[in-house]
Amino acid sequence: MSQPPIPETGRPEPDVFSPIEPRRGFMTQLTAVVVGGLVGIFPAAVGLATFLNPLRKSAKQRQMPEGSDTEGYYRVTTLESLSAIPQAFKIIADRKDAWNTFPKDAIGAVFLSRSGSSEVRAFNVTCPHAGCAVDYKAAKGAYHCPCHNSSFAADGKRDPKSPSARDLDSLPVKIDVNGAVWVKYQDFKTGDKEKKPA
């Protein structure tokens, strides 16, 4: 861009070009590019900042649901209502969606089953492979994912032929003195061999 290209229109080039000092021409071009670039980039940059908002740490944190106890456990059901056969339960909490707050709404779901007289097993319903929700097939005694056929035993162990790279995501459970079952509900990153918080 340091010198004007040769015209291809057949129109004679105006002779004004010859007397222009190359140095001044270059400065003009440079300034024009800088100033033009600046005014062009600014509005896009402001827009881009809002677009990138979801990457902010505070924006991620603010979306965390409220309604758990101080340790992050949600009250789900009572020990009495559980059996050895896994049942799906909704986690109820104040759900936030951008500007909206939905009080006492479902924020996720877990499978709960008794594994002993007072021991409870909890799994996040989300398949660790790609995030579909798994079903429990009582006839097979196993969890099955309807999307890519991942299969997990009742204790959450993955079937070796499953596309899922890890077992079902188990969740910590505690039972209080009144027999209420509390689950530390959490989502994990899918598609990973390691269980990492989402």
């Binding site: 004007p4 290209p5 015209p7 291809e8 229109t9 105006p14 004004v16 007397p19 021409g25 003009t28 071009q29 300034t31 024009a32 100033v35 033009g36 600046l38 005014v39 062009g40 600014f42 509005p43 896009a44 402001v46 827009g47 881009l48 900042a49 809002t50 677009f51 990138l52 908002n53 902010r56 924006a59 603010r62 104040d94 936030k96 951008a98 500007w99 909206n100 707050t101 939905f102 009080p103």
Partner: protein
Amino acid sequence: MNSLLNWLDDRTGFKALMHEALYERVPGGARWRYVWGSTLVFTFSVQLVTGLFLWMSYSPSSQTAWESVYYLQHEMLFGWLLRGVHHFTAQAMIVLLVLHLWQVIIDGAYKAPREVNFWLGLILMQIVLGLSLTGYLLPWDQKGYWATKVATNIAGITPLVGEQVQALAVGGPNYGHYTLTRFFALHAGLLPALLVAFLALHIYVFRRHGITVPDPIHKPDTTFWPDQVLKDAVACLAVLATVLTLCLLHGAGPHGGAELGAPADPTENYSAARPEWYFLFLFQFLKYFPGESEIIGAMVIPGAIMGVLALMPLIGRWKLGHGFNVAFMFGIMIGIGFLTFLAVKEDRANADYNFAVADANQKAERVVELAKIQGIGPAGAVQLLRDDPKTRGAALFKVKCASCHRYDDHDGTGRKPTEAATAADLGNFGTRDWIRGVLTDPAGPKHFGPTKNSPEVGDRFTKGQMAEWVEENITSKKVTEEELDAVVEFLASLGERKDAGKLDADKVAKGKNFFGLGSDAVSGTCYDCHLMKVADDPDGAFSDASAQIATGAPDLTGYGSAQWLHEFIAKPGSKKFYGSHNAMQEFAGSLTDREIDLIVKWLLHDWPEPENATK
């Protein structure tokens, strides 16, 4: 690199195109007077870019439009700046458009062979005005809602098709979801697409005829790149700087930039409704067309002016035509300027309008505060204000109570009524000061004093039994200061003022005892006239409940609590309160329970406040 470019050029011919674009001849040299068109293209580009990003955060429905804009403005990184740039660039675009039009008319650039391009320009102007009109509604705040209602109602008076035009714009019988989806599609889809198409034609035809040069021998000829580009870029920088300055003048951060009013509420009148400043002249103009002649001001005259503008290329062919065109344009501009001046002047002098603006600002701030404290429920942010005792209670007090009562000398919303009050000033109702006032000066100006302004009531209260008892026992100091203090504390303990502070349990117990038993010095106890049920009565002060002798002495059980106040407002004339002595209207029929609750909570200062404000 070069061979790659050559390959690309061979397949696309981009070099010729670039050359065509950049090396347009500028006869007489680059000049500042040629920048206006470029600044308009620039502002439009800014609108396209910022608009696209706004789009990513915007949700057009009557329960989410304001909410999504609020979220962008207050929660998202630089969202306020994005809105601010879009808002003020829109205004800059209108100004630049007028300047561009001026210049074209003054220079006679509309004359042959550029007539068609002049008309294309006029079409572009209409599209830009359409963009501004549709964009004003999208935040779905009170201002945009009411202004758009007026604009579409005006469209509704169009002969023959008015009703249909209005129905199509509104999208249904009421302003709501469909109004927003339609306006949004127009604003972000159809109108920008039309603008791009007509702008392309405009620039194409402009390039065909070249710049209108007033004096080609001004300087040696040059080309668009780089000399004129530099001037254009600097002009665009100036425009951008102006936009940023305007934006920052309204404050930096989420409370600055472009204004966001309170969410649209069709049930809340908005007396501060005004169009954007560049439409104010039309708004003012309509004031001069009474009754059915509105159409003359709204359509016939503006249409005729647009008609003359469109005919300018033809008028310009006459000998005196150009002079007429320039004079006409200046005449119109002076008229617009004058009407705008009148509109602003009238508003400034209008106390009602100024109050409405202040009220609107207060609500706009309050709803943001509430959204931060409570979050926005599924019903949308408008519900936050409807359920807010602080603003809604005050507004209800103004409408329902302030014809008789006062609140700290005003009507609840800050305005001082001109007529005299005929009932108590409830500004400090339920506080210790209030109770002490009733007990020391019941006929004073803050309590029952104003009732004598009502001819029907006369001195029923100011010289009633309570006033007599106070005269006999308190004014004469038979009740000791300590006893008075105690009974004030006791009565204050029954209320639920959030700002009451800590209660003195010792005083409360003493006051309770005095209320029931009085003392040897005083004639009669409070309990002789006022019923009082207490849960805990260790001294047996309230054992004898037979003595409720006085008609019109209210039951003071739970005095000043939300429940007591609610019952009182609903039926002040019931036996529990003033009975046949009552002079107050009963509100059980004219206010819903919810509305009474809002007034009660407001009187008791029971409303959500941000945590840091209460500390």
